[in-house]
């Protein structure tokens, strides 16, 4: 019996859902209803096939309107699924929506209990608990908090660019923060894009310059997120701007400084060309870099390393844009929503030593080959080996670092298609024999299978077998001076040795090195592989478990450019839905302090992750700011004197729930 039996006006309605056969096949629902009828203060107990349907909800509304009930218990699925549905029904019936309690007899009972009798008994216990709890529920109101209409986009690859432009075109202010000195990401490195063979630069660079010139976009390259605090609609973000040693506002990208540099020849590997090309200590990452601003690498610049340089770069710059004293800066911004588009990292072929990457100079990574076939690449688009000769035969190894328990279990999704694209480009540029070694060819996309068909027609060889090893141990005269690929041709059932001049490793996609660090900063979740986790794999693919933070592109999982752009569009639409509503409703599950019980011990204050608790020195007690409280319950659990309580989860409510279960058992 609830202790506060004085509440004579209690009329509790219990509605038990069959959920088709999801619940009814394991739980004897009629028996649970009979049981509920005999519980104290229960005036109505009903069974219905689908409580979440309109007629099901109408049952609740009608009973409230008829005055039969003033508290509602629904025994059905998880509150994650339909708590809001039934709260709304309760409210539309004319009651405070928090006069409702849900008992989960599907996920917690019917789906996980084999024995019918045991399932029915457990369902009864949970209904009893919910009935006792709802009896002492208090009416609560939701609070509204305004939403800042600025959006932060993290990552300036194609995902970030598309999201930023979509938002900016809709009139939203956007901060686009990119770690590298230029936006463009991996897409800027590619030569052509599958399956249409559009030139990557031709379709990307107009978007890059649109970002640069858009009045609604603040572009911060060479910058990283240092700190994130706040909550949905009201995030506070600290951005670290790394020193370029060049004043961005003054530099016009004339490259005179680069020519003047004391290093007469480019001597350092250029990251944009995957190290195949060389750059000077002061450099422009690539001709269409956005912003078109040079930067100085402090690790190779003589002035920054030793302080003893003629500083020719500075002397030729008419606009005095070079500033060796630049220090890193921190900027604080307020934003309402955040889109993470931090992308991926290519698998490092060195992790599979038997493929000889890093050992044999003619074993290349796929990104290196993208640069080699690119007209703006280190060889001007000539596909030549390190000795300057064109390869006569090329082997492309699929699934490097994918579908392998020793590296990554998942399929990287894009390698088959980009391997086909590279096979086409290599054949087109060199006329070489191209061999694809694959486990399965995966071309599920618009125009993708047709592209595969075209490659078959072009005479590219396809050998179904994962490459076992690559070495230079010749066994026949033909094999002299070649790389030998050994693999089983599984369709023939024989092991083959194929001598080639060049090997391309179709490296898979991996989460960024610092994905875990970024995840912590933004307080979101990662899958076991390290990809950022979406809220629901089907129905909320761009949302995260943290309200107001959305995902776009390969940071969520390997995907190609069409999917990335689609997801970036979706993420910006979700961000706009949040912003244009103008406010967020907060659950009233906030904590509150019973002043008379607070001893002023300070325990709760440092524990609060949202800095919602402060200390009142006059009264010598803790004070809680309800607007900042997110209802995590940490302080409530820690309070030694029981002064802290949480709405919707008061000690008494939880005790009543426990008693409900225990008294039944």
């Amino acid at each position: 019996m609830p202790e506060n039996k004085s509440n004579g006006g209690l009329k509790i309605g219990v509605y038990v859902c069959d959920c088709g056969i999801n619940i009814a096949s394991k739980v004897n629902v009629a028996e649970v209803v009979e049981f509920a009828k005999n519980l104290p203060d229960v005036t109505v107990a009903k069974e219905y096939k689908f409580m979440c349907s309109d007629p099901g909800q109408d049952l609740i509304k009608q009973d409230i309107k008829d005055g039969k009930i003033n508290r509602v218990v629904v025994a059905s699925c998880s509150p994650l699924m339909h708590e809001n549905t039934f709260r709304r029904a309760t409210s539309e019936g004319g009651l405070n929506q928090y006069y409702f309690q849900m008992a989960n007899i599907r996920e917690h009972v019917s789906w996980v209990t084999a024995d019918k009798a045991a399932a029915t008994e457990k369902a009864k216990a949970l209904v009893a608990a919910a009935v006792r709890r709802v009896a002492i529920h208090q009416p609560l109101e939701r609070t509204r908090v305004p939403v800042n209409s600025t959006v932060l986009v993290v990552g300036g690859g194609i995902a970030g660019i598309h999201a930023a432009l979509t938002l900016a075109d809709a009139g939203k202010k956007v901060y686009l923060v990119e770690r590298e000195p230029t936006i463009g990401g991996h897409m800027a490195q590619f030569d052509k894009t599958f399956p249409t063979l559009d030139c990557a630069a031709c379709i990307l660079t107009p978007k890059m310059s649109a970002v640069r010139s858009h009045p609604n976009i603040t572009l911060w390259t060479y910058s990283e997120i240092a700190e994130v605090s706040g909550f949905v609609g009201n995030f506070k973000v600290k951005v670290k701007r790394k020193p370029r040693y060049v004043i961005e506002e003054l530099c016009v990208g004339c490259n005179l400084c680069v020519e003047a540099c004391v290093f007469k020849k480019p001597a350092f590997p250029n990251a944009f060309d995957e190290g195949l090309g060389k750059r000077k200590p002061i450099y422009m990452p690539f001709p269409q870099a956005t912003p078109s601003v040079v930067l100085i690498d402090p690790n190779t610049c003589s002035e920054l390393k030793t302080g003893k340089c003629k500083k020719l770069c500075a002397s030729v710059c008419e606009r005095n844009a070079i500033d060796f004293t630049q220090k890193e800066e921190f900027k604080e911004i307020d934003v309402g929503a955040i889109i993470l588009a931090t992308g991926y990292k290519a698998f490092d072929g060195k992790r599979i030593p038997r493929y000889g990457y890093g050992k044999y100079p003619n074993v290349y990574s796929s990104l290196e080959v993208e640069r080699l076939v690119n007209a703006s690449g280190p060889t001007g688009g000539e596909l030549v080996l390190k000795n300057g000769q064109k390869p006569k035969s090329v082997g492309i190894v699929h699934c490097v670092g994918s579908r392998d328990e020793n590296t990554n279990k998942y399929c990287s999704r894009v390698c088959c298609m980009y391997s086909l694209k590279l096979a086409h480009l290599i054949k087109e540029r060199t006329g070489a024999e191209v061999y694809n070694f694959y486990i399965d060819i995966r071309t599920p996309g618009k125009g993708y299978e047709e592209f595969y068909d075209k490659l078959l027609h072009e005479g590219v060889h396809f050998i179904r077998g994962r490459v076992a090893e690559i070495n230079d141990w010749a066994m026949t005269p033909d094999e002299q001076g070649k790389l030998i690929i050994r693999a089983e041709d599984t369709l023939v059932g024989m092991v083959r040795r194929i001598p080639v001049d060049m090997v391309v490793l179709a490296n898979g996609l991996e989460p960024q090195e610092d994905a875990e660090e970024v995840r912590r900063k933004f307080n979101i979740s990662c899958s076991s592989e390290g990809w950022f986790l979406e809220r629901h794999p089907k129905l909320a693919p761009v949302s995260t478990f943290t309200d107001g933070i959305f995902l776009a592109g390969a940071c969520q999982g390997p995907k190609d450019i069409p999917d990335t752009v689609a997801q970036a569009g979706a993420a910006s639409a979700e961000a706009m839905a949040l912003i244009d509503k103008g406010y967020v409703e907060l659950e009233p599950n906030t904590a509150y302090i019973r002043d008379e019980l607070c001893s002023g011990c300070h325990t709760c204050i440092p524990l609060c992750p949202y800095n919602a608790i402060s200390f009142n020195h006059e009264k010598k007690i803790a004070v809680l700011n309800g607007a900042l409280c997110k209802g995590c319950g940490t302080c409530v659990a820690a309070c030694p004197s029981g002064a802290l309580q949480q709405n919707l989860f008061t000690d008494e409510q939880i005790f009543q729930e426990i008693k409900g279960v225990m008294s039944y058992v």
């Binding site: 699934c399 579908r403 328990e405 486990i439 077998g465 076992a468 089983e488 041709d489 059932g493 092991v495």
Partner: protein
């Protein structure tokens, strides 16, 4: 080129043994065989697959499908040198070498292993010798091996045998431990244990 005999390239379901895969994979980690994606890494890595009648990948497929007769009478498992290259590189973590041992044990139990093939004969003679005497007498094992597999080639091998003898690498003495009875007690206990756990005997 072999003559055409109209060999059958058709297998009826009734000819297959649906329990075969479960029997062969009843070893620790054996259940992973079901995850094979037929990529051929095992066959490509294998230093001996080029001599096998079926490649390791084909053996895996045949075990999974229940081709009991073909698998047990195949030379593949007997050619396996236990280098474990396939097991190390298998992208699905399948313990292929262990599966090969499982096939060999089964072939011995069913007495369908290739009787004149040196590798199973050597294994059998070596173990028989060690089980009886506690040590292996190499001369005896080698002579028995040749008698049972290729008696005529013994003449050629005799020259090498003489050389080894004069170098002191091989002797005429019957090798044996002192307390053979105790060894038998240990082996009998192991046999009992093996029978009680259903793992079969040596």
């Amino acid at each position: 080129m072999p003559e055409w005999h109209g060999w059958q390239k058709l297998k009826y379901e009734a000819e297959l043994d649906p329990k075969f895969a479960d029997e062969i994979t009843a070893i620790p980690g054996g259940e992973k065989l079901a995850n094979c994606i037929q990529c051929g890494t095992c066959s490509g890595m294998c230093p001996l697959s080029t001599y096998m009648d079926y490649t390791p990948r084909q053996i895996v497929a045949m075990v999974r499908a229940g081709f009991k007769g073909e698998v047990l009478s195949s030379y593949t498992s007997w050619l396996c040198a236990s280098c474990y290259a396939c097991t190390v590189e298998c992208p699905k973590g399948i313990k292929i070498t262990d599966i090969m041992y499982s096939i060999k044990r089964r072939a011995i139990q069913e007495k369908v292993y290739p009787k004149k093939f040196p590798i199973p004969v050597l294994a059998k003679e070596f173990f028989g010798n060690v089980l009886r005497n506690g040590r292996s007498t190499e001369m005896l094992v080698v002579i028995k091996l040749y008698l049972k597999t290729a008696p005529l080639s013994m003449i050629n091998q005799a020259i090498m045998g003489m050389k080894l003898f004069f170098q002191g690498r091989i002797g005429l003495k019957m090798e044996s431990i002192k307390r053979k009875k105790e060894l038998q007690t240990v082996l009998n206990a192991m046999d009992k244990e093996a029978v009680s756990t259903g793992k079969g005997t040596l």
